[in-house]
């Protein structure tokens, strides 16, 4: 049985798994990016309150493995509060939190460290703050942040695999179940690797290209 045969025979199961993975990604990416950007901007503007909160939470999430947070929210937290939550939502919440604070910290740092001289140059040229933000600050920040944010989102796609460990029927779990039926680990995991390669490699290449295209020597040699 070849990789292609497996994909054809089990295409319904794979498509269902893929659908769950994509739904997870849709939640994690959209909520994480929107929430993270807002958190980062608020954190940069209120460094002593929200800034410290974002920074601290980002530190905490980078120190605690995502899998531990996921398991903690799935088992002990639900037992403590005596609730049963669909594993999909638990996984979505966990990964969204990780993504939100990751994005938030990137944005907070970029906004806080934005070279003030570019804003001063805009002011003395008669530009109002709205125009400075629109034509100077946002384009520079966007170019600076986009590659890092893309790479982070690829990392979040990879992290959806953890959801399989709390019984979310996403792509990896589907692959495991098919493997337990037909025992073709080489073919199945090769197919899975190819899937991630096809999806993630272009995003990583795009991030690398954007970094090369837009990263300028701000030091003005």
């Amino acid at each position: 049985m070849t990789v292609l045969d497996i994909l054809i025979n089990y295409h319904i199961a794979f498509l269902q798994g893929l659908s769950v993975t994509l739904k997870l990604c849709a939640v994690i990416w959209s909520a994480g990016l929107v929430g993270g950007v807002m958190l980062g901007i608020v954190g940069a503007n209120f460094p002593k309150s929200w800034g410290r909160f974002t920074h601290g939470m980002s530190f905490a999430f980078s120190a605690i493995p995502t899998l531990v947070v996921l398991f903690w929210l799935h088992y002990p937290a639900q037992a403590v509060f005596n609730v049963v939550i669909d594993p999909f939502y638990t996984a979505a919440l966990t990964l969204t939190l990780v993504n939100t604070f990751g994005v938030g910290e990137f944005v907070r740092q970029a906004v806080a460290d934005f070279p003030q001289q570019y804003i001063v140059a805009g002011r003395v040229s008669g530009m109002n703050m709205r125009d400075i933000v629109r034509y100077i600050q946002l384009p520079i920040l966007f170019r600076q942040l986009l590659p890092s944010l893309l790479v982070l989102q690829v990392g979040m796609l990879h992290a959806t695999l953890f959801a399989s460990l709390i019984s979310v029927e996403e792509l990896f779990r589907v692959a495991q179940r098919i493997n337990s039926t037909i025992y073709r680990p080489i073919e199945i995991y090769t197919a899975l690797a190819l899937f991630f390669l096809v999806v993630c490699l272009p995003i990583n290449l795009l991030a690398a290209w954007l970094k090369k295209r837009y990263t300028r020597d701000f030091s003005e040699r």
Partner: protein
């Protein structure tokens, strides 16, 4: 008239600029000279209203700004009627040099941008690099662009901080001769420079700054016959170095 009255500025209790009184007239060139670290750039930033002095008053024509500044007090920005070219230039890195020059003027809705830009490109020899990004241009090229960006705004007062430091002799001559022409357009120019030759030939007023205060000021003849020992020493050091 751009006027500073009893302006004092410092960090914590240490004054950097002490009790400065200075007048920059429209159509005149005021040259500020002095040793490094004596507060020249800080004074320029105060005049540009980019720093808030601890005391004093800065008047730009009819608008006066009194210090110490009261938080919440209404502030009417004087820019770009008064504009500045900094020593570090501050060109926006995501825009080409042409876009750097045109962005502020387009937002001001000033007409005839293209004709004016073409004239500046020719005057400052910028044809070969005008469509490059700042990181692709030399410091001298960027200095010319930063000056052009300010001139496009047709300011009434132009404050320039060491803008010829990276230019060759030919470019310096071109830019300084261009600045002299601006007098005819009634623009008041305030320039920090070490080019004493320019001060001698073009300045209407020379101000010598030392230890945060004005050591001596007057016409260009103060460079020939200084009245204070401190200016005499400064000129002697420069003469010995050159």
């Amino acid at each position: 008239m751009l006027e500073a009255r009893n302006v004092t500025f410092g960090y914590d209790a240490k004054p950097i600029v002490k009790d400065i009184n200075l007048t920059i007239k429209p159509g005149g060139i005021t040259v500020l000279i002095g040793p490094s670290g004596t507060g020249k750039t800080t004074l320029l930033r105060c005049l540009a209203l980019l720093e808030q002095p601890q005391s004093g008053e800065i008047c730009i024509d009819d608008a006066c700004y009194r210090y110490p500044w009261v938080p919440g007090q209404a502030f009417t920005p004087p820019w770009p009627k008064l504009t500045t070219v900094f020593q570090q230039l501050f060109l926006w890195p995501h825009l080409t040099l042409r876009e750097n020059i045109l962005l502020p003027v387009k937002l001001q809705n000033k007409a005839d941008n293209d004709h004016q830009l073409d004239a500046l490109i020719e005057a400052f020899d910028m044809q070969d690099f005008i469509d490059r990004y700042p990181n692709e241009a030399s410091l001298g090229q960027r200095q010319r662009v930063a000056l052009a960006r300010a001139l496009m705004l047709k300011p009434s007062y132009l404050l320039l901080d060491e803008i010829t430091s990276a230019l060759d002799v030919e470019q310096i001559a071109k830019i300084l001769s261009y600045l002299k022409q601006l007098r005819g357009q009634n623009i008041g120019i305030f320039i920090i420079t070490h080019l004493l030759g320019f001060a001698r030939h073009a300045a209407d007023q020379v101000v010598f700054m030392a230890d945060g205060g004005i050591g001596e000021s007057g016409g260009p003849d103060i460079l020939k016959t200084p009245k204070t020992e401190r200016l005499f020493q400064f000129l002697s050091v420069i003469a010995a170095a050159s």
